[in-house]
Symmetry: C2
Subunit: 200 residues, 2 copies
DNA sequence: CCTGTGTTGGTGAGCATTCACTCACCAGTA
DNA sequence: TACTGGTGAGTGAATGCTCACCAACACAGG
């Protein structure tokens, strides 16, 4: 039959899928059970409450951006700053695109948001981490002379990642009628602009 | 006694305050009525359903960024591009700060998000408007020779406003322990960086 | 090799509560 | 008298969660 883990995993998958599609508010225990192909009571064999189930979904199913960034930063510095920034922006855009709808809906349920934050802190991570990591990377490049001496690395990091996050926000907003710019193009334009500036 | 409008206004205010504090999910008709100092039944004298009440809150209580931007853009061009961008960033940051928690929580209830979007479209506005307006402003400055000829104004607009939006996201995330940078400073740093770039 | 026993992971039925919403009714005023 | 804006007391439906029960397996003792 099914392994002990598989039901738990099916529950987590179902919950995540529902949160993403019909929204956190309409993701009820009944719907989760139906989507996971088990009874409601089964949920409570694996999770102590609906809230704990959500926290586990956030912890075990949402991707992390920090590791990606650190990997980029620590990698062999063979590529140019612009290439690195483009790749970072590309990955950040994809990351936010996948995690934004769920992260945003947490604001509807502050208690859940608080628990999620506590769980993140436990893991030594959090939504401000990518900003700090990118800023640290840029500082390193600045000391290597590949970024202008007076450059404000915090501001640059906020600009680059903020643009990616906002893109996700708009991406999931209904009625995105106009054909959206491909991620690669978007990322490249951001990197280019943040490097060159727009001043005369 | 109270004017005909005042109850309706008290209801809208109460609903908005609750959405902002305890979250969309826990903002029930009973809580709204209690906070507005009236009965639940009174809500239905003024709004046909809870969903319609929420839509009205969004429509009548949330600030608009577009007009602010247009006013800035159309104003007498006596100030430098950097001063203008700083002011735009400052206002955008404050705007997002005040509207983000509510806007984000809409993602928990896609049906409400959709209705909100329809209402916005009715008003000829929407979350993409500020991006377009800022980009248009930058294009105008480019043609006036105050912005570099090859500059990507779309990318620059995405960078500036994205950073402001993300700041609001983080602002409302629990556990903002570190003393946050003042808006003015933040806005000035963004404007400076987006103009000068960080490249060598 | 059976057999008793405990554990694990599952079920269907239902319970208390909460929710959005309605209804009959009423006070003040035009 | 008719209308507007208000109320208290519900109502049916939905929700999170529990409970008694059960099938399958692990496995130690006779």
């Amino acid at each position: 039959m099914l392994t002990p883990m598989s039901t738990r995993n099916r529950i987590l998958d179902a919950a995540e899928r529902l949160m993403r599609t019909i929204g956190l508010a309409r993701t009820t225990t009944k719907e989760i059970a139906r989507a996971a192909g088990c009874s409601e009571a089964a949920l409570y064999k694996h999770f102590s409450s609906k809230e704990e189930l959500f926290v586990r979904v956030l912890e075990e199913r949402l991707p992390r951006l920090g590791p990606l960034l650190e990997e980029m930063v620590a990698g062999p510095g063979e590529r140019s700053v612009e290439e690195n920034l483009t790749e970072i922006a590309r990955r950040a855009a994809l990351f936010y695109e996948s995690s934004f709808p769920i992260a945003a809906s947490l604001y509807a349920e502050p208690r859940l948001l608080k628990r999620h934050h506590a769980a993140l802190r436990e893991l030594g991570t959090g939504p401000r981490k990518p900003l700090l990591a990118l800023s640290a990377y840029l500082r390193a490049e600045r000391e290597a002379g590949r970024v202008r001496p007076g450059a404000d690395t915090d501001a640059a990091a906020a600009l680059l990642l903020g643009a990616c996050a906002q893109r996700a926000f708009l991406h999931d907003f209904p009625g995105g009628e106009r054909p959206e710019q491909p991620v690669e193009e978007f990322a490249a334009a951001l990197a280019r602009t943040v490097l060159a500036g727009i001043g005369v």
